[in-house]
């Protein structure tokens, strides 16, 4: 099963729907062991503050949450509607970001992303020669006027009531129009057949969790709706050791970061002169940035980063 013989692959390709159905019936136990073994190291025994589906912030033992993982994913219709009553919003405090890249790692772990794909990516930016460089983590902005969903010919990528933009990789035709339409280079394409373990492939697909991947379809940051349904924070938020990323509900006017600090959204945005990246494009992103002022860490070195880039290339080529 783990060996991807061409024959095997081809059968998967042709009968993916059949495979999904059987997985739903016989694959339950596999999912259990698979998911729990992935979660153990991270959260077991810890008390975590989470956002419940009805919008309350509660502190619970994370072991209790594991059961929720095993719940079958929501139906396609529900995944297209979104979580009722919510309006998700993210705030990234650039003054706190030290560019460690833990958000990216946490995200890649949760979504089983190959190392070449960074759904949330930390850029090193410098607006002009005089101003200091800063780190700029960039997830999908889940725009309220999304250029990507407009151009999709088959409604495979869509905007939900709760503000999230998702992709249904069982409908995507792979034209990549959304990729060229996105001004933020947020979308990734499955150019090759995904290398996934048998267990990963057994998980029933839902647009809310974006895997198992399918060759010839587009993927991107999904704001982790499958964990937010359980009242948890997205992987990048919990993964950030600096507490730089806040996630919350605009309707509730509250956002929370990894340190467990919950703040009033409107006040946070007002007090820190929050801005949205490339506001002039009119895409209305759902991700706000707080300017990188009064930083507590050394500013990024643009030259150093270039070397890092080279390293990264070697690293990538080794992986491939």
């Amino acid at each position: 099963m783990q060996k991807n013989t061409p024959d095997n692959e081809r059968r998967k390709f042709l009968k993916s729907s059949v495979a999904t159905i059987t997985a739903g019936v016989i694959g339950g136990s596999v999912i259990n062991s698979f998911v729990s073994c992935n979660d153990k190291g991270e959260t077991q025994g810890e008390k975590v503050k989470v956002l419940t589906p009805d919008g309350k912030l509660v502190e619970i033992n994370s072991t209790h949450l594991q059961h929720e993982h095993n719940a079958p994913p929501v139906s396609n219709t529900e995944a297209r509607k979104g979580i009722p009553g919510k309006k998700f919003v993210m705030v990234i405090d650039l003054a706190k970001c030290d560019g460690c890249g833990e958000c990216t790692k946490a995200c890649q772990k949760m979504h089983f992303t190959p190392p070449d794909r960074e759904w949330i990516k930390v850029f090193t930016m410098q607006d002009n020669e005089k101003s200091a460089p800063y780190y700029f983590p960039k997830p999908c902005f889940h725009c309220d006027n999304p250029p990507c969903t407009k151009v999709c010919p088959v409604d495979a990528t869509f905007k939900r009531q709760d503000g999230i933009v998702l992709i249904d990789n069982e409908r995507c035709i792979g034209c990549r129009f959304c990729m060229v339409a996105c001004p933020y280079s947020t979308r990734f394409f499955n150019w090759d057949r995904p290398e996934e373990s048998a267990a990963e492939k057994m998980v029933p697909y839902s647009p809310e969790q974006s895997f198992p991947r399918k060759v010839g379809t587009v993927e991107k940051c999904d704001f982790c709706p499958h964990v937010m349904r359980e009242g948890k924070l997205p992987a990048c938020v919990t993964g950030c050791p600096m507490g730089a990323i806040y996630m919350g509900d605009e309707n509730e006017n509250a956002v929370t970061n990894s340190v467990g600090v919950t703040v009033q959204l409107s006040k946070l945005l007002e007090d820190n002169a929050a801005y949205r990246y490339l506001e002039e494009l009119g895409t209305k992103p759902r991700v706000y940035y707080l300017p990188p002022k009064n930083r507590k860490y050394p500013k990024p070195d643009m030259n150093n980063d270039k070397e890092g880039e080279k390293k990264n290339h070697n690293h990538e080529s080794m992986n491939m």
Binding site: P6, R10, D116, R117, E118, K121, F123, T124, M125, K138, P147, K150, V151, C152, P153, V154, D155, A156, R171, C172, I173, G174, C175, R176, F177, M179, V180, A181, P183, Y184, S185, R187, F188, F189, N190, W191, D192, R193, K214, V215, G216, T217, V218, L278, L281, T283, D305, G308, E309, N312, H313, E316, S317, M320
Partner: protein
Amino acid sequence: MEKKNEHTTVTNNNNVESIENDFLKPIGKYSPLNRFWIGFLLIIVVWGAAIYIRQIYFGLGTTAMRNYVSWGLYISTFVFFIGISHSGTLVSAILRITNKEWRRPITRSAELLTWVSLLFGGIMPIIDMGRPDRIPNLVIFGRLQSPLLWDIICIGTYFVGSSLFLYLPMIPDIALCRDRLSGNATRLRKWIYRKLSLGWQDTPGNWKRLEKGMHVMTIIIIPIAVSVHTVVGYIFAMTLRPGWNSTVFGPYFVAGALYSGSAAVVLIMAAFRRMYHLEKYITKKQFNYMGQIVLALTLIYAYFNLNEYAVPAYKMASSEGFLLHDLFSGSYSSVFWILQLGTVLVPAIILAFPKGRTPVMASIVCIIIVIGAWVKRYIIVIPTLLHPYLPIQKVPIEWSQYFPNWVEWSITFGALAGIFLVITLFAKIFPIVSIWEVKEGREIEEKYEQVDNAIKNEKENVQVATS
């Protein structure tokens, strides 16, 4: 007087015979060179098809495209092929409406070029699709908001329209093939002629209906053709990308399409003139006039280039500026300037002189234009994708650059060979020149001659009488 008339009708009949013979002669006959050419094209087509199957199997990762340059040679070629397909409409419809007599020997090949390049142009986006197995989704879940749907609708309509536009004037000729070539034709060809001639019997009723149908098609096809390339431009212009986010893209693409399409008409004219020995019919006149049309369209295209590049370059807004710097003086500058000077300015200068519009010179210039138009599509698509708003950082080196790899070249040249193959085979099954239209033209010419002669005679008579 009566005797003279009889005489002219006899020569007329001879003329008609020889016209028919000239055009029917190459049909169904394959010289060794023909066979070699067809075999050569077949190999490229089969190779391309095999590589495409391989691409479906392993995914688009077998191409050089990656997440930044996610549209590459396939989409550039799509735009190019659709552009070439403008030729048929231009020459055929516009010259038909304006009743230009010199159009007669070139309409069929121009219409054929439209039809074939549209066929393969339409295939290119399918080749570019990650999931061609999900094409039915376009019908099941199709959304009219997407420019891609506009393209499917417009190109689909244009394809049906241009098929009719090609087919209608072919009916009398197919009937002629049915009647004249029944002796040595294969059974398949006889069957094709019988079916496709739709029982054409040369009756006045037949002709009346044909003329009516053609008149309607001639007028309808022009706005459809304009719409097609406009929405191809919209695919790019409806995004926020620097370099594509432009209001002139619709007409700019139409102008570019007419420029490359008309040049391609000159090439197909030249090719059949030489291969089928049609020097008697496709004369210097056609090249001279077509050369002038190409010249006019090149100048219009140059004007749109000025708008497309000079206007943003004056302002140098930051995002647009990075792209323009790269085009004007950066890594794409040599290609950019060769295109602007070598394939727009120089052809315009050459075509401005009568000596530049001889069959040989016009063909050379038009080859340059057609290749230039292809590379230009590439330069419209790729540099923009390499200049996103956010810098390209921390990615594998092959993501931050693009040049098509052997898979893309194989498939693209397979499609190009497919275009040549369909044209070649078409011309071996059907007359490549509209026989009845050329005959009609000859008749009109003769009538003019008769009138001229009559006037001359009258004048002479009057002179004789007065003297």
